[in-house]
């Protein structure tokens, strides 16, 4: 699986795509692979204010429950409701249809973000 160049990555294996003041979040292909079959995603409430690094969603695989952390600060403006019926999209299309939430960015605070190359190196370490 190639790591898309238009996204940024966190050490917790989340991705973020920034379009103007909107950031879209998901977990990386590496993350879904490590978790195994995803059977439930708990989405955040709309309008919830997130700090950078705050747990905003929960992804549950057959055996494990994992928090997902917000790479940037902002307010939730949209969630991927399709994941309520098809959580497996996180497995099959982690960087696309498996997106989890969109936030309206507030302020400059972010967790440490990596480029695709940096994330690739991070995975190899």
């Amino acid at each position: 699986m190639t790591i898309p160049a238009n996204l940024k990555y966190t050490k917790d294996h989340e991705w973020v795509r920034i379009d103007g003041d909107i950031a879209t979040f998901g977990i990386t292909d590496h993350a879904q692979e490590a978790l195994g079959d995803i059977v439930f995603v708990e989405l955040p409430d709309i309008d919830r204010e997130l700090e950078a690094g705050e747990a905003y969603a929960v992804v549950e695989s057959v055996k494990a429950v994992s928090d997902v952390y917000s790479p940037v600060a902002g307010a939730v403006v949209e969630v991927n409701e399709e994941l309520e019926g098809e959580p497996e999209k996180v497995n099959t299309d982690a960087f696309g249809g498996g997106w989890i939430a969109k936030v309206k960015i507030s302020g400059d605070a972010t967790v440490e973000l990596m480029t695709d190359d940096e994330y690739n190196t991070f995975l190899e370490e």
Partner: protein
């Protein structure tokens, strides 16, 4: 805290698991596959939807009990009535402490009048064997732990019989549910029983380690799909089968665990009988119930269970069932076993639940 190095054992099939993409995890002192390349959900589906799943359950222990007192000894050590067994029959049973709580749950195989074979849980093996050997001192029996020499495979699912038959020189049709035969598997002496832990028709196959890889490969060749621990746990939880360390432990008696059907108080004396009788007349301290989540979420082990808004107990096993949704087994206060509004606390929120019959999905074992 520093990492503690634990020497994990490997079954003769370790390399085979790795070659199949098995994700190896520590389990009951062994390195076992939690899933293979297919993933837990597809493995589960293969077993439920008519294929044959093959499971390496060599971590489980086997003990041979033989001698003139074998029957009297097992009547005294186990909860079920061993005198009811005929040659070639398997019985679900348990070992209890004097306090009536579980040392382990087991299966007892009657080979002959003076010879029996016990299958015990991996995590309890050394404790069980010590108990069995200590108690053997007062009986004319020999108790031999054969676990290290024995590979145990489970082959489960509607296609199990077709996959296994070509390896045997005897018609499997003649082996009924909870029956077994001493039989040649690829020409080598083994034991095949029509038993399992999935709710599907299938077999458990005891063979010497030396032929483990050959038999495994042959069964794969015959279409069997390798199944890891994650799918195995899904399959057994859907049936509501107890698992030691979850529904049963040294903290509960058969009265709490709904296992009085394997505890025969009228068969004569056995270890734990007096305590179980006392518990039965005093009433259980808690009761095991089956739960289905009504709201969204996955009920998981240790999640608190409330009745009418007050904490009543906790989940012992829980999962997302592809067929039945969020399902769980839980201990609750005895007065809540049959009535009161149930809820499960998931990450601080109360999610509505209801009582369910067991099994959660239809059993296809061959009665």
């Amino acid at each position: 805290m520093p990492d503690v190095e634990i020497d994990l054992a490997r079954t003769p099939l370790f390399d085979a698991h790795v070659a199949l993409g098995g994700k190896m995890v520590p389990f009951a002192g062994f390195e076992m596959p939690v899933q293979y390349r297919l993933g837990a959900l597809k493995e589960y589906t293969a077993v439920r939807n008519g294929e044959a799943g093959i499971f390496d359950i060599t971590h489980m222990g086997q003990v041979r009990v033989s001698g003139n007192d074998a029957l009297a000894y097992l009547q005294y050590l186990t909860t079920n009535d061993v005198s009811k067994l005929v040659d070639g029959q398997v019985q679900y049973s348990a070992l209890l402490n004097e306090s009536g709580t579980f040392i382990d749950d087991i299966t007892t195989y009657k080979i002959l009048d003076n010879e029996y074979y016990l299958c015990i849980n991996a995590a309890n093996r050394h404790k069980d064997v010590a108990h069995l050997q200590t108690q053997a001192a007062s009986f004319d029996v020999s108790v031999v732990d054969e676990s290290d020499d024995t590979t145990l495979l489970a082959l489960q699912g509607a296609a199990a019989q077709a996959a296994l038959q070509p390896l045997l020189d005897r018609d499997l049709e003649s082996i009924g549910y909870y029956k077994f035969a001493q039989i040649k598997v690829n020409g080598v002496d083994g034991i095949v029983s029509r038993t399992g832990y999935t709710g599907e028709d299938g077999f458990e196959i005891y063979i010497p380690n030396a032929i483990a890889v050959d038999v495994w490969d042959d069964l794969l060749q015959n279409g069997a799909v390798p199944i890891g621990l994650a799918a195995r746990d899904m399959l057994r939880t859907e049936m509501g089968y107890a698992l030691y360390g979850h529904e049963i432990s040294d903290a509960v008696t058969p009265v709490e665990a709904k296992l009085m059907w394997i505890t025969k108080l009228d068969k004569g004396d056995f270890i734990g009988k007096v305590a179980v009788e006392a518990r039965k007349s005093a009433g259980p301290r808690q009761r095991l119930i089956a739960i289905k989540l009504v709201g969204r979420g996955i009920p998981r082990e240790h999640y608190p269970v409330s009745v009418d808004g007050a904490l009543s107990g906790e989940i012992t096993s829980g999962m997302h069932s592809p067929m039945a949704g969020g399902v769980a087994l839980a201990y609750v206060k005895p007065e809540h076993a049959e009535s009161g509004e149930l809820s499960v606390e998931i990450r601080g929120k109360q999610v509505a639940a209801e009582r369910s019959k067991l099994p959660f999905v239809r059993s296809n074992v061959r009665r």
